[in-house]
């Protein structure tokens, strides 16, 4: 069993798996169950000023399903906590007292003025919480009131509020970012300038999950109407991974610590976020789908992985893939691969053929007896056949060794690295020095 203990901006937890600020962390009962199940920490569902908000009394969630109603994406229009501030503060204090080894972060969202922050921060400190997370990401309801993503979409506001918070508390400050922007580095930069100890991302993505074609209304439908919600769950993971990586690999952001969020469902998802620079991860939808017990799979899975790799600390994973995230222009154009179909594994479904023939490069041949083979003369190694093949490892991309001739181009595969910046077709290319 590997040592999974985590130290994220000075906040210690027995493992790097936190529950994100969301419905599962709304009250003492849930959070105690989470800690009993083994979660390393929680970000308590966002507190606001009294009078507390109210939620709709109809559906709050909508879903996207895969096979067998496997939940792939969840959409949420729930607001921040709809309980009185003092109730939450009292419960936080009790839970932190009872579970001192777990991380207790409190998510906050108050109006964009310094006074409310000055008011609420001491109250949170008094609970014994380990840190605060500023909710600049909530994309529905609160943003209409000038909070949540309405702040997160304006870097100047992020910087300003972060600075107020830092000036009014000793606790570590994590700024939670909204993905509903064009360049995630701008809000991250603003948080850094404001003095944030870390950023967490992503919050949920503006979405309409589906439309009821009888009512002609968006789902979830409240009395015939629907409003966009925040999208989360496995479907958003690729978007979140990219945003985490964008921040992690930007040298101007000074390696600001990142708490990774977005569709994390398994230990492997968590490890991927960490490899792309997340110091720890936060989970919500997977817990909402399967219950708190999933953390046990995450713990055993990450532990086994670390043991198999000979890693002794989760910090050895963090950021390990970041150097390999680059820009397209720096990809090696001299690298040549060809698809290869393992005839022993092939079940002759023909999906690779249909995909390649109809939508790609006509690089797969089909014989009378349904044998499918790659035509190297046409194959550009696009990978679509690999992606649509239902059999794992049946089609693989095989790199061509330098010195061989690519039968598609007739050119010898060069051993040296060469990218677009020096390519003769690039009008802006400069001769290699």
């Amino acid at each position: 069993m590997a040592d999974l203990t985590s130290d994220f901006v000075g906040i210690k937890s027995p493992n790097p798996f936190w529950l994100a600020s969301a419905p599962p962390t709304d009250k003492e009962y849930n959070v105690c169950r989470a800690f009993e199940a083994g979660w390393g920490g929680v970000v308590w569902k966002t507190l606001g000023l009294d009078p507390h908000v109210v939620n709709v009394n109809g559906p709050r969630y909508g879903a996207i399903y895969g096979a067998d109603r496997r939940l792939l994406g969840l959409n949420n229009i729930e607001l921040i906590t709809d309980r009185p501030l003092q109730t939450n503060l009292d419960e936080i204090k009790v839970v932190k007292r009872d579970y001192p080894d777990r991380a207790m972060i409190v998510s906050l969202m108050v109006p964009c003025e310094e006074e409310p922050w000055k008011f609420i921060l001491p109250l949170v400190e008094d609970t014994g919480a380990d840190g605060v997370e500023l909710n600049f990401g909530c994309p529905h309801g609160m943003s209409e009131r000038g909070m949540g993503s309405a702040v997160g979409q304006v870097p100047e506001y992020i910087e300003m509020v972060t600075r107020w918070v830092k000036a009014n508390t000793r606790m570590p400050v994590i700024v939670k970012l909204t993905p509903n922007i064009t360049d995630i580095r701008k809000p991250a930069e603003a948080a850094m300038k404001g003095g944030a100890d870390a950023v967490s991302l992503i919050n949920t993505i503006n979405s309409i999950t589906s439309v009821d074609l009888d009512l002609f209304a968006p789902e979830p439908t409240i009395d015939g109407k629907g409003a966009h919600g925040g999208y989360c769950g496995p479907a958003v993971k690729p978007i979140a991974l990219n945003m985490v990586a964008e921040i992690a690999r930007d040298p101007s952001l000074g390696q600001i610590p990142i708490s990774g969020i977005g569709g994390i469902t398994t230990w492997r998802d968590a490890a991927e976020f960490m490899a792309l620079g997340a110091g720890n991860v936060q989970v919500c939808t997977a817990a909402m789908t399967y219950g708190f017990k999933i953390v046990q799979e995450m713990i055993s899975g990450l532990s086994d992985y670390m043991d198999s790799k000979g890693l002794t600390s989760v910090d050895e994973i963090v950021g390990r893939a970041v150097p390999n995230v680059t820009d397209w222009q720096h990809l090696n154009l001299n690298y040549v691969a060809k698809a290869k179909i393992d005839q022993d594994l092939c079940i002759s479904c023909g999906r690779c053929f249909a995909a390649c023939e109809d939508t790609s490069h006509q690089a797969i041949a089909m014989s009378e007896d349904r044998t499918f083979t790659v035509i190297d003369e046409e194959c550009v190694a696009c990978n679509l056949c690999v992606n649509v093949c239902p059999v794992e490892d049946c089609i693989t991309m095989e790199a061509m060794a330098p010195g061989l001739v690519d039968s598609r181009t007739g050119k010898v595969v060069e051993p040296d690295y060469a990218n677009w910046t020096t390519h003769p077709n690039n009008p802006a290319s400069k001769a290699a020095e």
């Binding site: 079940i347 002759s348 023909g350 239902p390």
Partner: protein, 443 residues
């Protein structure tokens, strides 16, 4: 007097009254909506899918499964029924494990094919139970076609002809339509009167009249049918039963399996269908299996199915063989009946064991038997028929016989497997050719 499994002789009511409904319930209960979605999701939507090639009626299986997966089972049903108007029955009785599901790439990959037959049933039931008939007739052509036999071949042909605008008269010897669907299939494969419901649904197309109790060579002649109609389709199946060439085979209790199966299907109360204590079924096809299994289900103590060759040569599929053994039927192979023994009624039956070349090995087998079912094949009956090929009517690819204006399909025609689905395909294809012959236009 009550009877049970141990009562000697051929008697009814061997079981408790409530056991019959259980024993003869649906072999494969229908998938519910969620099960259908899960099953449909397993389809890979193969390119030029092998399952389509394997289907005698060329149903676009990946398309109909995708239509189920996307919540449009009625569209799926139309995809099925436009190729196979008896898609509902075929979904129940097709040996899918030898056809579409054997060809399914997931059978190759995992040994677990997509449940094509059950998905087909889900779709066709969904549509048909709403009473929707998604086809309509073209403008009347003024032509009339006689169809002999209201079984799968005849009704398939009749429906397609009616759809193309022809008027059709179907002649059938029996009092009900459906042919083997109604009289020749095990009860647990088509429960709750489905065969008749399907016929009623099929006839909604209009333009089809059925004349019951009219058999070729009895009430009608081929000559009169040819004279009175613009074309004739022969789809009367095989009316004769092959005799048992064994000494004493005329003894009481030696019966035709097809009659036993028909009696079961027509029985209002299964408890009143008599069955032996020691039943022997001779044959290796679906009829033999259907008889043997149902004899067990009726409460026979010992049921032995005896086939002259090895299991691999049986016409009954492996699934059917396994079904039989799972119900307690003993399958004996490489044995040929030699003598039926008994004083008036059968008491025992003796077999010669034979080798692969059907030569007697010198060893014999004697089985107690108070009921023996012949299931060694059926034969074509009738006179003045078109030219034969072997023991069936010779046809070309379009179902044309040696006689001008006479087509044939289904079990009475040479070529093809004797399956419901094959009969439907042949009836359909003959109809298309008849249409072209009568109107000069390809449909």
């Amino acid at each position: 007097m009550s009877s049970d499994a141990f009562t000697p002789g051929i008697v009814p009511a061997r079981l408790e009254a409530e056991a019959y409904a259980d024993h003869f319930s649906d072999l494969h209960p229908r998938l519910d909506a969620h099960e259908a979605l899960v099953a449909a999701d397993r389809c890979y939507f193969c390119h030029d899918a092998p399952c389509i090639t394997a289907c005698p009626t060329d149903i676009d299986i990946p398309l109909f499964i995708r239509q189920i997966a996307t919540g449009t089972p009625d569209a799926a049903a139309k995809t099925i029924l436009s190729q196979n108007i008896m898609g509902g029955m075929c979904a129940r009785v097709c040996p899918t494990e030898q056809l579409c599901e054997e060809a399914c790439v997931r059978e190759l990959a995992e040994g677990k094919p997509v449940l094509i037959g059950q998905l087909q049933r889900y779709a066709t039931d969904h549509l048909q139970e709403q009473g929707i008939h998604p086809f309509s007739r073209a403008a009347a052509t003024g032509k009339t076609v006689a169809v002999v036999g209201a079984g799968p071949a005849g009704l398939s042909c009749a429906h397609r002809l009616a759809m193309l605008g022809h008027d059709v008269v179907v002649y059938d010897a029996r009092p009900k339509a459906g042919g083997l669907n109604e009289y020749g299939i095990a009860t647990y494969k088509t429960v709750e009167g489905f065969a008749q419901a399907e016929v009623d649904w099929l006839l909604q197309i209009g333009g089809i009249r059925i004349e019951f109790g009219k058999a070729l060579g009895r009430e009608e002649t081929l000559e009169s049918l040819r004279a009175g109609h613009d074309a004739v389709f022969l789809g009367m199946g095989l009316g004769g039963v092959n005799a048992l060439e064994a000494e004493g085979s005329d003894k009481e209790g030696v019966l035709d399996a097809v009659d036993f199966i028909a009696d079961l299907r027509q029985a209002k109360d299964l408890a009143r269908v008599p069955v032996g204590r020691d039943v022997v079924v001779i044959g290796g096809g679906m009829t033999a299996i259907d008889a043997a299994v149902q004899a067990r289900l009726l409460g026979a103590l010992n049921v032995t199915l005896v086939y002259r060759r090895g299991r691999d040569r049986m016409n009954a599929s492996v699934f059917e063989q396994d079904l039989a053994t799972s119900k307690g039927v003993r399958i004996v192979t490489h044995a040929v009946p030699r003598a039926v023994i008994g004083n008036g009624a059968v008491r025992e039956i003796e077999f010669d064991y034979v080798d692969g070349a059907m030569a007697p090995t010198g060893q014999t087998l004697r089985l107690a038997a108070d009921q023996v079912f012949r299931a060694i094949g059926q034969s074509l009956v009738g006179e003045g028929l078109p030219a034969l090929e072997g023991r069936k009517i010779k046809v070309d690819d379009a179902g044309r016989t040696s006689l001008q204006g006479v087509w044939a399909g289904g079990d009475c025609a040479a070529g093809g497997d004797d399956l419901t689905v094959t009969a439907v395909a042949e009836g359909r294809d003959a109809a298309m050719d008849i249409h072209e012959a009568l109107t000069g236009a390809a449909a």
